[in-house]
């Protein structure tokens, strides 16, 4: 058993070149980041649409969006990921078959982005809705009084004006999306957590690899925090210092 204790600090296991597993871990991290960025962006798009729909849409649209955000926020991500992973791609395939195309190939990456995106979409709907509501009505009225079209008002006034209110929430969402990618391990997608488990299982150096992966996630979070702080400082230029 002494051999095992020694392998705890067998740093060569982390070497970038095989037989070290560092390269695999980094590739996993890259996959995680790709999914996080993709899912987050998709979520933002869905969220923007959702927020405007919830605020200005018709009654039916509002209710449907309410159902969407309620369901997603009440059911564990792990369950949603399983449901969406199977049902989502299944439905898409059936749809494609129904309209005449054959079943499409959905890569693990696309499926991952889709799943994280749907989950994130519900959260960002709520974050953005709150932020839009925080924009004083008078600012939008002023834009109307100057003859802006609804599209222009949204682009030129509503969206930029709500940004300072949305950024804390959106940054939290980003951090959540980086961590939620770990859940895709349960569907066998080789992001950082799964490759860590594979590496750990193959080498039996569980502690070493889990700690290494933890450090990578933490680094991602810390780097994100720095960037978020820069963005926030920029977006809040127009806001008076809190009293």
């Amino acid at each position: 058993m002494a051999a095992d204790t020694a392998s705890l600090i067998n740093w060569s296991l982390l070497a970038l070149e095989p037989p070290g597993w560092g390269g695999v871990l980094l590739a996993g991290l890259l996959n995680s980041i790709k999914i996080a960025i993709g899912g987050y962006s998709l979520g933002l798009i869905l969220g923007t649409g959702g927020a405007f729909g919830k605020l200005y849409g018709g009654p039916v649209l509002k209710d449907l969006l309410e159902v969407y955000t309620t369901l997603v926020r009440a059911v564990p991500e792990l369950v949603l990921i399983l449901l969406l992973y199977y049902a989502g791609t299944d439905l898409l395939n059936q749809l494609m078959t129904a309209i005449g195309y054959g079943p499409v190939d959905i890569s693990g990456l696309a499926a991952g982005i889709f799943v994280i995106g749907i989950v994130q979409g519900a959260y960002s709907t709520e974050v953005l809705r709150g932020a839009i509501k925080a924009v004083p009505a008078g600012q939008i009225e002023a834009a109307r009084a100057f003859g802006m079209s609804p599209g222009q008002i949204m682009r030129r006034v509503t969206l930029p004006a709500m940004l300072p209110h949305a950024i804390p929430g959106l940054s939290n969402l980003w951090l959540i999306s980086t961590k939620d990618t770990a859940l895709l391990a349960v569907v066998g997608f080789s992001e950082l957590t799964l490759v860590t488990r594979q590496a750990a299982g193959s080498t039996k150096a569980y502690l070493l690899f889990f700690c290494a992966a933890g450090a990578l996630y933490l680094a991602l979070t810390l780097v994100s925090n720095v960037i978020i702080r820069l963005i926030e400082a920029r977006a809040r230029r127009g806001m008076a210092a809190p009293a």
Binding site: P136, G138, Q139, E141, A142, A143, R144, A145, F146, G147, M148, S149, Q152, R156, V157, P160, A161, L163, P164, R237, G238, M239, A240
Partner: protein
């Protein structure tokens, strides 16, 4: 008085909010160069009337004509009316400069950006030209130094002057003011009134809702007293303030002082 062109003509305007009829048929004509002050008690419908002119509130009945062009309206199916042509409304709005009680400057833009926003993005003025004109306007209202500041960092009076510059930037046919000084601390009111007074001297067409009677008297050439959703009395300031006819107006004027 009739040789000047009509800038705004409002015909028999009605507005109801649910069961409450706020405007019960108001007609008003402003010619080029007119400065019309609308006075009246709180809740008498002054703001509503002003907001109906540029369709921020949709009138229930009646027509609004700006520079000879009547805003086409159609029934909206709920017993109210809506603009027949949204593009037309946007075009007409861009020719009316509105100044709000709460300034409503866009907080995420600097003062200069606020002023060039509508010229550039609504009227399509080239940016360089818009900046040049905006700087001239800001100099005029005494805010040239503050052009790169964000609104939140200005005093109320400065913000309101910036809002006036923003409204002037679209070269409006008519300026509309809704109680431009009532959200200001007393010591800041003067600077804003001076700017508006200067505009009046230039014979710019203006309709302004105000509680500042002395100012209305000095600046306007026509006073409209609104009460209970109708024009109770109107006329030149000397008559309205000097020799009010209706009981309501008499009471209103005495209550002010």
């Amino acid at each position: 008085m009739t040789v000047r062109a009509e800038a705004i003509a409002v015909e028999n305007l009605h507005k109801r909010f649910g069961p409450l009829e706020v405007l019960k048929g108001v007609s008003l004509t402003a010619h080029e160069g007119d400065v019309i002050a609308i006075i009246g008690g709180s809740g008498s419908g002054k703001s509503t009337f002003l907001r109906c002119i540029n369709m921020l509130e949709l009138p229930s009945a009646g027509t609004v004509t700006i520079h000879g062009e009547t805003i086409a309206m159609k029934k909206d199916g709920h017993g109210g009316m809506m603009p027949a042509d949204r593009k037309q409304v946007q075009r007409i709005r861009s020719r009316l400069g509105m100044v709000f009680q709460n300034f409503n400057l866009w907080q995420h833009m600097t003062i200069l950006q606020n002023v060039i926003e509508a010229p550039v993005h609504v009227l399509g003025v080239p940016k360089a030209e818009a900046v040049e004109r905006a700087e001239a306007l800001l100099r005029r209202v005494g805010l040239y130094e503050k052009r790169d500041a964000f609104p939140a960092f200005l005093s109320g009076g400065q913000q309101q002057r910036a809002a006036i510059a923003r409204a002037l930037a679209v070269q409006p046919h008519v300026m509309l003011f809704d109680e431009p000084t009532s959200a200001l601390d007393p010591e800041l009111v003067g600077e804003v009134l001076t700017v508006i007074g200067d505009l009046a001297k230039e014979k710019r067409t203006m309709i302004l809702v105000t509680h500042e009677m002395k100012f209305a008297r000095n600046v306007a050439n026509h006073i409209v007293f609104l009460a209970n959703g109708v024009i109770e009395e109107q006329g030149p300031p000397e008559e309205i303030f000097g020799a009010p006819k209706s009981e309501r107006l008499k009471k209103f004027i005495s209550s002010i002082h």
